[in-house]
Point group: C2
Chain length 452, copies 2
């Protein structure tokens, strides 16, 4: 089977990890990136500066043999630290084992390491400042613009792996074609990033072992720790309406809004108004496709194939899982590219759709549900049941974040059934002591098959 | 004839001027712009910060009735002030009448005024932060992204006037269609902008009445004056090769290159190395199309239709001329949109191609030919002959810059013949005194018909 060469468009997180994985398989990779080398140019341009890495992402970097290089970047977060309106805080653990933590990681630092590792592979040739200007699906040709040589050239790349992000030029070139059929759905909420600097001597001004949330019903502020002692803050808020980015159109209104809703955070924020006015409002959206490949010519991967909203912290984890799944399909030496793409798409498409849905749902949970007594009661019960039946009831959050062996689609399906069972068991109940745990265990055993 | 409404994509210089012109004709204009309102957001992002305005541009803003608002922005330049390697300077006048000057103007200030004027027209509705994401030629539909409301919507805009710049998304959507057939040709030279700040009390550190050139054969530095006392500097240089942007990859090399080639400018430049490393290298290119319209559905205009390299300072002047020509075609009340677009294209396409060629040629003239004795002799003779036969011999530079009544295509054609005649008349001649002017006048009278 001729699977010797591949062109990957985009040296972001997904494209650079995939290059490493392909290269170690003996496939020669040409990796083309629009921007200058981020290792020279400083911070990578782009949107979110902090990402969540959970078990699927870690499994993928281990699979690629680069975990050792990445580990120093990871800041463990054991749970959500909820900041109430009155300034009280409460830590809600993500899981119930010591290992059940998630990690905050800097997008740009992670990207630089992955590019470094890809660059060190003899099978990988990285070319920076190579911009895809147009894609011609019928000829499977990319019109590339070389910003160093100042010239255009046509690239006849079969197969092309398009890892060119949520706004993928390649995907959009298929807009009137049945081969892909993509939809881009924007959330009516947007985001803006702010910062909490480190204290003196790099001390953290908030607990660095948690993801901080200021849930306020219709909107929320979150903070993720960085290794340097600082935090990245993100405000998620409706784009339009009474309480919205559009309404916060004067410095005084911004100040009032923060003092009213996030009083305990305000003294920690670095130059609130200056940063507010300098930083753009970012859009949030979901990209879905009917197909991710066009014969043996093209495969969309990562955000180009399936951008998701960030509320489950799974965008990168899903993209990294893509790389592992694709590599596993390549284990079959008889499969040509077309077969590889078909089998891969068949395996991963439902998973991407599932996490896209769950990420949208998790926005409601983070900004609102975490405050509800019913939610906390169900969570407490689910932890008890998980200890009793660890192969049957695993909280959905845990399946997604800590159980990379459970596909997202399975987590979604089991999660729906679990939610129904948990709602029934807590119906009309105010306190965990009122529940007969043995009855609950029996109920779960009867209705939920084992995971494996 | 139903010519009541039009949608214009892009509130850059061309789109905003065209909105004013259409509005004053009674046509309702929806003007959509990707970026935030530049009047609020500060400087307009984009490429070149200074532009040249010459008679075609001035005629257009007068035609639109906004010259009075724009006049205060204009800084007159009477000629090229050549800086030799040894630090000597020489002023070469552009024309020979007092009125024959060109103007330096700030792109962002000009854009803000045009948007202001468009905004004041009851017939114009401007909507900012509206980004065209895809264009579907077959349905003549634009997929728009509203960055304020955070939603996508489909715009069924007939006719759509695409003034969305050199990288036009609409034009590129036609990449496999015969209706447009576009080419983008990059120059193997690129540019980088630097700055000379004003002296104390806003004093100019160079003569503000000229366009400064440091012509060095294969490359050049130029400086354009700003009203605030500062200058915008631009280095034009090969992208790759021995002397190139690619070769200037260390601070010391940049310093050495400037000290060697532009010693008199170096002490005036603000933070040479910092600015060098901060500012991107910009590409230069020419966009040409076989057609600019698709039935009555679409018209490309300005850079979207015909980007030209900046060496004749005619990109904006051509785009503004487009608006005037289009408006003149609209004088025919019986013409529907399709006819208007056809007649307009027929009139202006050859002119755009002509100035695209001449702009490329002028790079050689600016960086090299201006130093040659033969060039200076021909220039001297052409000025003498113009005084004698002002309706027959007008230097090509003057036809382009000062004679907006002469179409670019005519200027090119007459320019070629003139060049031939001037070369013949100066063949083997070292000094103007050796030429029999009466013979030369007779020769011109015999071979060049009157302009009008």
């Amino acid at each position: 089977m001729k699977r010797n060469n591949v062109t990957i468009l985009g040296a972001g997180l997904c494209g650079s990890l995939l290059s490493i994985i392909f290269a170690r398989r003996g496939i020669k990779v040409t990796l083309l990136e629009r921007r200058p080398d981020p290792r020279l140019a400083g911070a990578v341009g782009g949107r979110s500066i902090n990402l969540v890495m959970s078990s699927r992402g870690i499994r993928a970097v281990k699979h690629a043999g680069v975990f050792e290089q990445i580990e120093p970047l990871l800041v463990a977060m054991k749970g959500r630290l909820i900041h109430s309106l009155d300034g009280d805080t409460e830590l809600q653990h993500y899981g119930q084992k010591d290992s059940e933590v998630i990690y905050s990681v800097s997008r740009s630092a992670l990207n630089c390491i992955l590019i470094d590792q890809a660059d060190a592979e003899p099978n990988v040739t990285i070319r920076f400042e190579q911009e895809a200007v147009s894609y011609y699906p019928e000829e499977s040709t990319v019109r590339m613009r070389d910003h160093i040589k100042a010239c255009d050239y046509d690239l006849d790349a079969t197969p092309l792996i398009a890892a060119d992000g949520a706004g993928s030029l390649v995907r959009r070139a298929y807009q009137e074609s049945d081969a892909i059929t993509a939809s881009e759905e924007l959330l009516p909420h947007s985001y803006k990033e702010l910062a909490i600097p480190g204290g003196s001597n790099g001390a953290f001004q908030l607990d660095p072992g948690a993801l901080h949330i200021w849930p306020r019903g219709g909107f929320m502020l979150i903070a993720l720790p960085n290794p340097g002692g600082d935090f990245t803050l993100t405000l998620f808020l409706a784009s339009e309406g009474e309480t919205s980015f559009a309404a916060l159109d004067e410095d005084q209104k911004v100040n009032d809004f923060f003092n009213e809703n996030f009083a305990d955070a305000v003294p920690l924020i670095d130059d609130l108004i200056g940063t507010w006015n300098r930083n753009p409002v970012g859009l949030l959206g979901t990209v879905r496709c009917d197909h991710w490949h066009d014969d043996d010519k093209l495969l969309l991967i990562g955000d180009a194939a399936h951008a998701v909203v960030p509320f489950h912290g799974q965008g990168m984890n899903l993209a990294f899982e893509d790389c592992v799944v694709l590599d596993q399909v390549l284990d079959n030496p008889d499969a040509d590219w077309q077969t590889v793409f078909e089998v891969y798409e068949k395996e991963q498409l439902a998973n991407a759709n599932a996490i896209a849905d769950m990420a949208l749902e998790n926005y409601i949970e983070m900004r609102d549900t975490v405050l509800s007594p019913e939610y906390l009661l169900r969570k407490e019960l689910s932890f008890i049941l998980e200890r009793r039946l660890p192969d049957r009831l695993i909280p959905r959050y845990s399946m997604i974040m800590f159980h990379d062996e459970i596909p997202y689609a399975v987590a979604q399906e089991r999660g729906n059934l679990q939610q129904k069972i948990l709602e029934e068991l807590t119906q009309g109940i105010d306190c965990i002591d009122e529940i007969d745990i043995e009855v609950a265990v029996e109920e779960v055993r009867n209705r939920l098959p084992p995971v494996h």
